[in-house]
């Protein structure tokens, strides 16, 4: 239902099976340079090392890295905390390098973070994505995020953003929902993943 595949550069696509990708939870300082270099090359806005540390020190359980044959090919960085009256998760950065896009790596990374957030008692998860980032919008749409608001001229380049929100079912209200039974199977969406999967932190620096 979401936008059909856009002209993604088929050239330079890596050949690999989904099982060859290894997903690792953030394991300490030695992972930091990997995350930083990945985010640095993909996102236009610069973040100081303190921004990265802020996330991975406080919420190491919410950050994941994807490896293929020893090479780091993707990462997700998140946080969670009290926001007004809700306990909410926030996806700060999501990056998969170009040759590995469209194969479900981002979906798997972000699903792992979301699952931990849910288990930790988050009521909802939010993030911002550029309105032009069709890939990210489709990915999050499939995971159940809605576009809650449009943020006018959100990025410094003048592009609008959507605030995406995923509301978890409230267990007391609807105990019968077949929730979260098989998130482990979530790479069944593999062949629908769009390129350009990433989200950006808010950049009003």
């Amino acid at each position: 239902m979401e936008g059909k595949k856009e002209g993604e550069g088929e050239t330079g696509k890596s050949e690999f099976g989904a099982s060859e990708i290894e997903y690792v939870s953030y394991g300490g300082e030695h992972h930091l340079p990997l995350i930083m270099s990945l985010v640095d090359q993909e996102l236009s806005e610069p973040y100081s090392i303190f921004t990265y540390r802020y996330f991975v020190y406080l919420w190491p359980q919410l950050s994941f890295l994807a490896f293929h044959e020893g090479k780091c090919v993707g990462t997700v960085v998140c946080k969670m905390g009290q926001h007004r009256n809700t306990f909410r998760g926030y996806i700060a950065m999501l990056v998969v390098i170009k040759p590995y896009r469209g194969r479900g790596v981002a979906t798997e990374l972000v699903s792992r973070s979301i699952k931990v957030m849910m288990e930790s008692g988050c009521e909802e998860v939010t993030l911002e994505a550029e309105v032009t980032n069709k890939g990210a919008l489709a990915l999050y749409g499939r995971l159940g995020f809605i576009r809650a608001k449009r943020l006018f001229h959100y990025y410094l380049n003048g592009v609008d953003a959507f605030r995406l929100k995923l509301l978890f079912p409230c267990p007391e209200l609807y105990p019968s929902l077949p929730m979260m039974a098989k998130t482990e199977d979530s790479h069944c969406h593999d062949d629908h993943i769009q390129p350009e999967e990433r989200s950006e932190l808010h950049q009003h620096l």
């Binding site: 806005e45 610069p46 540390r53 159940g144 809605i146 410094l156 620096l205």
Partner: protein
């Protein structure tokens, strides 16, 4: 551990408390000398480590910057340390050249680039990085010896100041606050307020030079001895003309801004004349590009669409990095200035938008005002035009600075004449209601993203005021209300106002839902619930509008009872008013869309994959949270939606085709709107959508059963928010 909590680290160091600290430390805190701590830390810390307190948060982390990283360090010297240094190094010479032809040529480039900067500023970048990247503007006195450049710089500064004042007075710019930031920029040059007299004098001189050169070329005797603009005789006419249209545009644009600010819309007619002149001068500016490019040929950029001046040459005297070092609100990133062509297009659009505002007749009826604002927003006007509209609508807490809000409400709610002087206007809640109307008008002038959010929140206020008014009326007029006299004025006012408040509430709700389409907030899998919600809101809107109009007719009838033919009266009473029928055909259309989408889903003709983390119910709740919180409408919830769509089937829909009803009503009601082109156009679009969907429904019904590969998708090809079904064989 790379980061150490300050407290933990401090514990390891002997901390001395200074005597008699002069600034109060606040509750539960004391001042301490951290020198020793820092000294100890310096020995210990490696690259990339820091000491922080417990309150170290994301904002603090993101505010840290790495020195000498060109993306983060705005203090990094790109070229010059200061404006003075740039000037000393000849970055902005006065005159620009001692060779007059070059001087004129460069001045025109500066003018053109400033226009591009100004448009870029209006489009959402900071003033410091756009218009005030011009070194000449930063030192107002330096240009005084160069009358041409000086006059232009002055009018630019004065114009910026006028535009900032419009936008900050309107406060429509909540998310566009970068716009009015002008700290440290010399917006008030000495004598800028007299910018027009200097501009007129310079214009006069150049028009004489133009006349002189024309006379010269036609071998007529020159009437006055006048020094030409520049040395090259062949270029004199072209340069004079290029300068004149640029100067005249500035003059008239400044007039537009000032006349539009006159109270109660008194300057609108005059503003229209200046707008017309501005547009024609912009066309002359556009045409001058051919001449300017022919001279600059070779010396400048290739003919790209990106060029920021008419000639294509880079202007002298601009440095955007200077303000990065000097003024705080400027991020260290370079921005892309709009091309000169796009800048002209921007100003043409702005002037057209302003012209629409100026040609508005200041409708005294609120309904008309709302319709006008919504129509105006359809062309997606930018900030400056929206701010002007808002200032026109609401001045001194009155509509157009003229009609009190109570008078506006009285008229809108169709209250009897006597109300105008009734005590009720002093009621506290009536006062609050007036304030809500003002807020509503202001919010409708904001950009649609912001507008939608504010409208959603505003719904609660309207709901609360309804309840408060109802209680207040019951309390104040309880005794009279219980009396059987139905002619009672209070009773009338009470009913009319409450009805009108409800109508307004549903109007806001429908606008909130519609804006979601414009902002692309709904994904196709959510269309079904959105149309369903629109359906329940529009039903209420139609109901309240109908009741309001019936009450109005009732009042009118009473007034003219004796004069009128009673038979005609009866006939009139049973006719549904066109305004209600108009909503009615929208209702049929959204009902049809809801059911069609539901049926397609129920019969698995639209692919719906389940989401791993939540269900449709959560998405329903999220999308309509603000409506539900305000009980708009009452008793509406996900189960109600689920119930009304679960059993939808294509076969039943074909039997009872809502689209045919929409078409029929649209056709019928058209004749009532022959004087309203906007409504007529809308009815035509509704008819088209209904017709296409009706056909699509038949096709799906006939072919669908035989062809399991039939694909149905939805497009907004005929209407911005009513979708048209597209059926394809895959």
């Amino acid at each position: 551990m790379a980061e150490k909590g300050a407290e933990e680290a401090a514990a390891a160091v002997d901390v001395a408390v200074p005597e008699g600290a002069s600034i109060a430390s606040g509750d539960n805190t004391v001042w301490t000398d951290v020198s020793l701590l820092l000294e100890a830390a310096c020995e210990d810390l490696r690259d990339g480590e820091l000491i922080h307190g417990d309150n170290f948060n994301l904002f603090a982390a993101m505010s840290a910057l790495e020195i000498m990283d060109p993306k983060m360090d705005s203090g990094m010297v790109c070229k010059y340390y200061s404006v003075d240094e740039a000037i000393e190094n000849g970055a902005a010479p006065v005159p620009i050249s001692f060779y007059k032809t070059v001087d004129v040529q460069c001045t025109i480039d500066i003018m053109d680039y400033l226009l591009a900067c100004e448009a870029t500023w209006h489009k959402g970048h900071s003033l410091a990085q756009t218009v005030f990247s011009c070194i000449y503007l930063l030192r107002p006195d330096r240009t005084s010896s160069h009358a041409l450049l000086h006059s232009y710089c002055r009018v630019i500064r004065a114009t910026c100041k006028a535009v900032i004042s419009v936008v900050s007075d309107a406060r429509t710019h909540e998310e566009e606050d970068l716009f009015t930031m002008a700290y440290g920029l010399p917006l008030d040059g000495d004598g800028d307020e007299k910018c027009l007299s200097l501009l007129n004098a310079v214009e006069e001189t150049i028009s004489r030079q133009l006349r002189a050169c024309k006379a010269h070329s036609s071998k007529r005797r020159v009437l006055e001895d006048i020094e030409p603009l520049q040395e090259n005789v062949d270029l004199e006419e072209g340069y004079c003309k290029a300068l004149l249209c640029r100067l005249r545009f500035r003059k008239h644009f400044y007039h537009v801004l000032t006349s539009m600010r006159r109270p109660q819309g008194r300057g609108l007619e005059l503003a229209r004349k200046h707008i017309a002149t501005c547009i024609s001068e912009l066309e002359c500016i556009r045409k001058s590009a051919e001449f300017l490019r022919s001279i600059a040929c070779g010396a400048c950029d290739d003919d790209t669409e990106d060029r920021t001046t008419a000639s294509g040459c880079q202007p002298i005297g601009f440095d955007a990095s200077l303000n990065c070092r000097l003024s705080a609100p400027t991020p260290p990133r370079t921005i892309k200035i709009l091309s000169w062509k796009m800048a002209i297009d921007y100003f043409v659009k702005l002037l057209h938008d302003l012209d629409i505002i100026c040609s508005y007749t200041l409708d005294p009826l609120l309904e008309g005002v709302l319709h006008f604002v919504v129509q105006f927003q359809k062309s997606q006007p930018d900030l400056v035009a929206r701010a002007h509209l808002q200032l026109l609508l609401v001045q001194d807490g009155k509509l157009y600075g003229r009609d009190s809000m109570f008078a506006v409400i009285t008229r809108a709610a169709a209250l009897p004449e006597v109300t105008k002087n009734h005590d009720i206007q002093n009621n506290e809640y009536i006062g609050q209601l007036g304030q809500l109307v003002i807020n509503k008008l202001k919010v409708l002038c904001t950009n649609s993203a912001w507008q939608r959010r504010k409208l959603g929140k505003m719904l609660q206020d309207w709901r609360v005021i309804y309840v408060q008014l109802e209680l207040a009326f019951r309390k104040d007029f309880g005794d009279v209300l219980s009396s059987p006299d139905d002619e009672n004025v209070c009773m009338k006012i009470f009913q009319h106002i409450l009805l009108w408040v409800e109508e307004q509430t549903y109007w806001i709700a429908s606008r909130f839902l519609i804006l979601g389409f414009e902002l692309e907030l709904y994904s196709p899998s959510e269309y079904c619930m959105v149309y369903w919600y629109m359906y329940v809101v529009l039903i209420k809107l139609a109901e309240k509008t109908h009741l309001k109009m019936a009450a109005r007719n009732d009042t009118n009838k009473r007034k003219g009872k004796k004069k009128r033919d009673s038979l005609k009266d009866v006939a009139r009473e049973y006719r549904i008013p066109p305004a209600v029928l108009f909503v009615q055909c929208q209702i049929c259309l959204v009902e049809g869309l809801t059911m069609m989408l539901a049926a397609l889903r129920n019969e698995n003709m639209i692919l719906q994959s389940p989401n791993p983390f939540n269900t449709e119910q959560e998405r329903f709740f999220q999308h309509f949270e603000l409506l539900q919180k305000a009980c708009v409408p009452d008793h509406i919830s996900y189960p109600a939606f689920d119930e009304s769509t679960t059993y939808a089937r294509i076969s039943t829909l074909v039997m009872y085709n809502y689209f045919k009803d929409a078409q029929r009503i649209a056709k019928e009601v058209k004749s009532s709107f022959t004087n309203d082109p906007d409504k007529l156009a809308e009815l035509r679009r509704i008819e088209q959508v209904a017709e296409h969907n009706s056909i699509a429904l038949n096709v799906i019904c006939q072919v669908g059963a035989l062809d399991p590969k039939l694909k149905v998708s939805f497009e907004f090809s005929h209407h911005p928010y009513f979708a048209t079904a597209v059926v394809k064989r895959s």
